[in-house]
């Protein structure tokens, strides 16, 4: 009997030793640090993942969401930098994680973060007012070119994705807008619906309410392929009916924003694997598919080398615009 106990405890001990080597597991509540204020796109992204993880019990430990949206999200990444080596702080962002340090003097570098995964690509479209005479992107761009500096493009704050895309379109087509920065995509949407500006480059989710009501209409989407079909939104037209900008004759094919997940620097490789695994499971749930469809994003799970390659390419493309526009601070 005694022998058996010893054997049993030996087996148990060897298990206990083997466990951490096999897989990292969270040992205390996990913080989801969100690089936007409550209600922002990144906030929705993090909270929907939180709700899916909770519902399917993908993680044992409780999850707390912290909004650190200051400095256009830099606050969250700086918080991540401060949590060096702590794999219980998961930071949620977009491409701002690696682009912000270019355009503003901030207390973190991209190398202070460890890439974990990306779950979706958010799309950008050219939208005009519902009563606007332009029904395709080409006609609208030609009109802007004919009267340079009199059309107004609304977007979120300066030197962020919307203005970067506007600069790319200007560069590719020779058109020229007056760019008006607002507090966010929601304000840019109502300004366009009210006819105060001529166009915006909002994500689908930021303009869907106004499109449903016919107050705004999409001209083209900056995606290599058309968006998923989905249900009709307005007048029998749905996301899949919008031509890509390339189809519409614009010399600019793609502009997409990844929805990304990060850990602080110097965390165990197992922890990165653990979260990448959880995120992959999340990306396969029906709730996630429903969220992505409802917000008309493109579902695309990336981790490991695929992710770092994507980041490197996206960083290079954006950095070129920042240099041309003279936004680079360092």
């Amino acid at each position: 009997m005694k022998k058996f106990t010893i054997a049993a405890s030996f087996v148990a001990a060897s298990f206990a030793m083997a466990m951490p080597a096999q897989a990292w597991q969270p040992t205390k509540p996990i913080e989801f640090v969100v690089a936007s204020g409550p209600g922002g796109g990144t906030d929705n992204f993090a909270r929907i993942i939180q709700s899916i993880i909770t519902k399917h019990k993908l993680v044992e430990q409780p999850i707390v969401v912290l909004n650190k949206g200051g400095g256009s999200g830099a606050e969250a990444f700086i918080y991540g930098k401060g949590g060096k080596g702590d794999a219980h702080k998961v930071v949620f962002g977009t491409n701002n994680a690696y682009l912000l340090p270019y355009v503003a003097k901030l207390g973190y570098k991209f190398s202070d973060l460890t890439p974990v995964a990306a779950l979706a690509l958010d799309e950008f479209l050219i939208w005009v007012n519902g009563n606007s005479p332009y029904n395709d992107a080409k006609a609208y761009i030609d009109a802007v070119k004919a009267k340079p500096g009199s059309f107004k493009m609304a977007g979120s704050q300066s030197k962020d994705t919307d203005q970067t895309l506007t600069a790319m379109i200007q560069d590719a087509t020779g058109a020229k807008w007056i760019y008006v920065p607002f507090q966010g995509g929601g304000a840019a949407a109502t300004q366009l619906a009210g006819g105060h500006v001529d166009s915006n480059t909002n994500n689908p989710n930021e303009n869907i309410g106004q499109w449903k009501a016919g107050q705004v209409k999409p001209l083209c989407v900056f995606s290599p392929v058309r968006l998923a079909k989905g249900e009709p939104v307005h007048n029998g037209k749905g996301w899949g009916d919008i031509p890509t900008c390339k189809e519409a004759g614009l010399p600019l094919e793609s502009f997409q924003m990844p929805r990304t997940v990060w850990l602080p620097a110097e965390v165990p490789a197992d922890a990165v694997g653990f979260y990448a695994d959880v995120m992959e499971k999340v990306s396969k749930t029906p709730e996630w598919a429903e969220f992505v469809a409802r917000t008309a994003q493109t579902a695309r799970f990336m981790k490991g080398k695929e992710l770092t390659d994507f980041v490197a390419k996206d960083e290079a493309a954006n950095a070129k615009v920042f240099k041309d526009e003279g936004w680079v601070v360092n």
């Binding site: 209600g39 929907i48 830099a74 109502t190």
Partner: protein
């Protein structure tokens, strides 16, 4: 009439035992977070949000909005009792509410505050019921110049309000503007006034400023004056609540005027804080005895409270119909809508009438529930004043610091609150008004953004502020508000001169 039928349907949705229980729970929790300075409605709502993931959207929004009403009511409690506003929108309530408490009329002040707040909220909800479609269309007419004109109107109504010297008011306001510029500037995309301190990146929250300037500043002063609260001998009788309720109809004009100001500021994006300040300013200006204001005049409690709540409930409309959150709390709730699978926007009314009208019906019921619950707590809260200062003082300090930390879970904010406490103390010693600083911090950066966006629109021409009848009339009203006090003093000056000349002759 169509709206009326929908509303009845909404009541059917909202009037279930389950929903009423949620309302009670929400209101009670709301009062709790509202009473604690710093821990305001936005925190409360985001803490509760994960709990609603599994609820159906109607129950979820009822819980969250009830919490919001509760927090709005709770925010005025500490304004009256300790001169510490629980929410920025109840800063204006301190002006006369706290003097009333000092005179031993705490129960009366609280009852006035809650009853008029309930009145304002009802006015706001009735407006939403009757005019939802029209208001949503009207709000679309607003662009940056109109926004700026509304903010300018608020500032204009506040300058020259008397009390402190106009010079001191402007110094205080300018400091508020300076604090509001710290952090990321969305118009230029640059970081301002952070001196490369990471902690300043997110800016200085006006909640921290309110906690420090009012809460800690007040305590420092109380300590100097002898470690006690005046008005401790306040008698608290439950029938005071009833007696006050009977007095309320006397102030019908103030209630009506403040409701209109509140609703106006709620649907234009001025927000509850601006509404309460403006309503107080208008009450004082139009009063026959303005010298009573600031010394415990009931109208000085009724006016800001009515407007605060009218604006708070009217602000739900832009959120639902346009998808623009009118306040920080509304922003959190909008995040909730997304998670529950709803898209806020003009079509929400058409696509999910059960949700929208259930919500509107719950706003009627929730506010009634809230008024009853808070009135029942008046004797309880008012008797807090009888606790000796040596016990309650340290407790308030702890609550203030916890509140400061909870705003953004940052240790630095505790030090910042302490620094603001010292500023508040010296402001009081040197007779500088604190309210203009708070007002400028709350809407200063929005006003600045709106102004600079307007300048981008017009490519630098100020004529944009007269470019259409809407913005033109808003600016005209604002300028009139700004110049009237000057005209008044000029007229007095001239009269003095002429009488002096007449005397000589």
């Amino acid at each position: 009439m169509e709206n009326f039928a929908s509303l009845l349907h909404g009541f059917e949705v909202a009037l279930t035992a389950h929903h009423i229980a949620l309302m009670m729970a929400g209101v009670l929790l709301g009062i709790l977070v509202g009473v604690l300075p710093g821990l305001g409605a936005p925190n409360g709502v985001s803490l509760m949000l994960p709990l609603t993931f599994t609820m159906d959207p109607v129950s979820a929004i009822i819980l969250l909005t009830s919490l919001y009403w509760g927090a709005l009511f709770g925010g005025s409690t500490t304004s009256v009792l300790f001169n510490i506003p629980g929410e920025p929108s109840s800063v204006a309530t301190t002006f006369d509410g706290h003097p009333m408490a000092k005179q031993g009329r705490a129960a009366e002040a609280l009852s006035f505050a809650f009853l008029s707040a309930g009145f304002g909220a009802m006015a706001g909800v009735i407006l939403i019921t009757l005019l939802s479609g029209w208001v949503a269309r009207f709000a679309l007419k607003f662009s940056s110049p109109e926004y700026f004109a509304v903010y300018f109107m608020t500032f204009a109504s506040f300058v020259g309000l008397g009390g402190a010297s106009p010079f001191k008011t402007i110094v205080s306001m300018a400091m508020g503007f300076a604090f509001a510029t710290i952090g990321m500037d969305s118009v230029s995309g640059n970081v301002r006034l952070t001196y490369e301190f990471d902690v300043l990146l997110a800016g200085v929250s006006f909640l921290i400023a309110v906690i420090g300037l009012f809460g800690l500043g007040e305590l420092l002063q109380t300590m100097e004056e002898g470690l006690r609260f005046d008005g401790v001998k306040a008698k608290v009788r439950p029938r005071d609540v009833l007696l006050t309720a009977l007095k309320l109809p006397r102030y019908w004009f103030a209630l009506l005027r403040s409701s209109i100001i509140g609703i106006w500021m709620g649907i234009t994006p001025g927000g509850p804080t601006a509404a309460s300040f403006m309503s107080y300013a208008m009450a004082k200006r139009s009063s026959r005895n303005p010298e009573k204001f600031g010394k415990g005049e009931p109208e000085g409690v009724i006016s800001p409270e009515t407007a605060d709540h009218a604006a708070g409930s009217a602000a739900m409309l832009p959120m639902l119909a346009l998808g623009i959150p009118g306040s920080a709390t509304a922003a959190v709730m909008m995040g909730g809508l997304m998670i529950w699978g709803l898209n806020p926007g003009p079509m929400l009314f058409v696509e999910r009438p059960d949700f929208v009208w259930g919500l509107i019906a719950s706003m009627y019921l929730g506010n009634v529930v809230a008024v009853i619950v808070v009135l029942a707590t008046v004797p309880l809260f008012a008797s807090i004043l009888r606790i000796p200062f040596s016990i309650i003082g340290p407790a308030i300090v702890v609550v203030c610091f916890i509140g400061a930390y909870t705003v953004a879970s940052k240790e630095f904010d505790i030090w910042l609150a302490l620094a603001f406490g010292l500023v508040g103390y010296f402001f009081k010693k040197l007779d500088y008004p604190i309210a203009p600083l708070v007002l400028a911090m709350v809407i200063g950066d929005k006003a600045e953004d709106a102004f600079r966006q307007s300048m981008i629109f017009s490519q630098g021409s100020l004529s944009i502020f007269w470019s259409n009848p809407l913005v033109g009339s808003l600016m005209a009203i604002a300028l009139a508000l700004l110049l009237f006090p000057l005209l008044g003093s000029a007229r007095r000056g001239i009269r003095k001169l002429t009488t002096a000349r007449a005397a000589k002759a």
